[in-house]
């Protein structure tokens, strides 16, 4: 009974807030509509400068082959020195140098070396750029070998399971939905509780006979409802914008989401019990969010991290949910395949919520 009054109150406050309802609309739009483009790890439009010391037909053909690829755009045909200056000024990312006698060597079947120099300030970018270029060069050289007919050509044709085009979005979108739920169901209710502490209404609540569990539920249920609604919207948006639909069943997606929601809101509650001002709560959450995001496999695979980081990841609910979501969306895994993930999340939920109820004190 009491719970009903409190939940009505929460909903009224949420929808009277000048900011929150806008957030509920903007968040899924931003997360699903914009982030997959921005958080894209494919490197395109790399500027490359060519220092061609041979200036022959064959060298020209190689340069054109590179320039024709969607990854590169040619900015200058120039001397080596000039090309280095372009890198320094940031106008070029990569220098491609063709030695004198290039054509001659090829025609005489001698080994030829071309050199690639990449700007290493952005490591990922330069590594990808040089591997793209070497791919193109290899391709170029094997064309020759094939035409000369004296070498057997090997070709590796990889077949990628579950994501044949290695589409980056298919991989990112489920993970972004996880972020969305984390913010909506973990952070917002916690900030709400700390807000009541700051305003002094919390003391008024503490002096009434409301049970601790009832009060906490009254804070969580509205955000759970809104969180699941926003989650549904983001699933629809992913389908609309990118045609991404879970390969597994929607039921599995929602079961995972609900278990995760209870874990992450438990974390928020624990924070809210220890923070007495919004500022403290924000900083604590920021800290947790940063660690959780970077050690979750969102951007980089957990298996590639050092052992200690993998240990931290084992205590990161985000990791389990991101993994689970990717498995359902890409592999079509069912609940049975996700048993260990659900179990881990369930343990988080139990421990964190138990801690939250115990650490919430109506009497100091």
């Amino acid at each position: 009974m009491m719970l009903k009054y409190l939940i009505i109150k929460e909903f009224k406050q949420i929808f009277r807030n000048s900011f929150l309802p806008k957030l509920f609309v903007m968040m899924p739009l931003m997360m699903i509509g914009v982030m997959p483009f921005a958080a894209n790890q494919e490197v395109k439009n790399l500027n490359f400068a060519v220092a061609d010391h041979d200036r022959s037909t064959l060298s020209e053909r190689l340069v054109n082959k590179i320039a024709a690829s969607q990854y590169f755009s040619l900015v200058a045909h120039c001397s080596s020195n000039e090309a280095f200056r372009l890198i320094e000024s940031g106008d070029a990312d990569i220098i491609f140098e063709i030695p004198q006698g290039f054509e001659n060597d090829i025609v005489n079947s001698r080994n030829v070396t071309v050199s690639v120099a990449a700007n290493g300030v952005n490591g990922t970018k330069s590594a990808l750029a040089s591997s793209y270029i070497s791919g193109i060069v290899q391709d170029y050289s094997s064309d020759f070998q094939a035409s000369m007919g004296d070498i057997i050509k090997f070709d590796i044709k990889p077949y990628y399971l579950f994501n044949p085009g290695l589409n980056y979005r298919v991989f990112m979108v489920p993970a972004l939905m996880v972020m969305l739920l984390t913010l909506m169901c973990g952070f917002l209710p916690a900030l709400n509780i700390v807000g009541e502490k700051e305003k002094g209404t919390m003391e008024q609540i503490n002096v009434t006979p409301i049970g601790r569990g009832v009060f906490i539920l009254s804070k969580l249920l509205p955000y759970w409802a809104i969180g699941l609604f926003v989650f549904t919207v983001s699933i629809l948006l992913a389908w609309l914008f990118y045609g991404i639909v879970p390969a597994g069943s929607l039921l599995t997606v929602y079961v995972c989401a609900i278990v995760y929601i209870s874990a992450v809101s438990g974390l928020g509650l624990v924070i809210s019990n220890y923070a007495s001002t919004m500022q403290q709560a924000m900083f604590l959450m920021f800290f947790f969010m940063l660690v959780f995001m970077l050690i979750s496999g969102l951007f980089t695979p957990v298996s590639g991290m050092p052992d200690w980081a993998q240990w931290i990841a084992a205590f990161n609910p985000l990791k389990y949910f991101i993994e689970a979501m990717r498995m359902v969306f890409l592999k079509g895994s069912g609940i049975a395949d996700l048993k260990s993930h659900l179990l881990a999340l369930g343990i988080f939920a139990t421990v964190l919520n138990g801690w939250a109820v115990v650490s919430y004190r109506k009497t100091e």
């Binding site: 009491m2 009054y5 008024q204 009497t363």
Partner: protein
């Protein structure tokens, strides 16, 4: 019947003794003024009686329940108005009363009836659906008081209820307190205004965490040979060691 009893009630924060062995008893329907300079320990003492803070030692009961072990039962029988204004500003007047009525387990019909009486008494029927945020401070204070007695508690604790309110509104406020006392609600009120102390049945004056004087305003004035409560207060407050 004693509604509040305290015997050697003490609260320490580390080495600091905020409330130092206070003892008194309150009768039903009494208006009890709890006076003291800033930092004398008034709010701390009040929070112990409300079940918001656990005492360090001593004994006390409120409405017959023990302040050490039965805080949640105490909370069913008291009303509390804190120093900080604590209605929900983003809810309307009516929504606030409905919420707290519901929390105390009042029936919807009872809530409606009591609410009608409350706004009628305050003469603010037409503001029932206004957000509390937009109301003037004097009204907010009166509303906060009305809310603290809305569920007909046995005791109501008021922590500096008239801070920052104009003299006319303060006068009206005290009329409301008298009304509540007439209905048998015991009123426990802290204040800084000495003229308000005169309105109380009995007054205690706290200095450095101890109750230095406790009697009716008239007896206190006689005892300390003062013209008014202000004189009594100054006489006692000067002995304070804490500042």
């Amino acid at each position: 019947m004693k509604v509040i009893t305290a015997h050697n009630l003490t609260k320490r924060f580390g080495s600091f003794t905020a409330v130092d062995g206070i003892s008194f008893e309150l009768e039903k329907g009494e208006i009890f003024g709890f006076l003291g300079a800033n930092g004398a320990g008034k709010t701390t003492a009040m929070r112990m009686f409300c079940g918001l803070s656990r005492p360090t030692s001593g004994e006390a009961t409120v409405a017959g329940f023990d302040v050490f072990t039965q805080q949640e039962q105490i909370k069913r029988h008291i009303g509390y108005m804190s120093q900080k204004f604590s209605l929900y500003e983003d809810l309307t007047v009516k929504e606030n009363f409905t919420l707290f009525g519901g929390i105390y387990g009042m029936k919807p019909s009872q809530i409606r009836e009591n609410f009608g009486l409350t706004v009628g008494r305050l003469g603010i029927e037409k503001y029932a659906d206004t957000l509390v945020d937009g109301l003037p401070l004097g009204w907010k204070q009166k509303l906060a008081f009305s809310l603290s007695v809305f569920h007909s508690p046995e005791i109501v604790f008021l922590d500096e209820p008239t801070g920052g309110v104009d003299p006319v509104a303060r006068r009206q406020f005290w009329e409301m307190i008298y009304d509540a006392a007439d209905k048998g609600i015991t009123v426990f009120v802290t204040t800084h205004y000495m003229d308000e102390a005169e309105y109380c049945d009995r007054v205690s004056i706290m200095v450095d965490g101890r109750v230095e004087a406790l009697d009716s305003p008239r007896n206190l004035k006689q005892k300390f040979n003062a013209d008014d409560m202000y004189g009594v207060f100054l006489y006692l407050a000067r002995t304070a060691k804490r500042s």
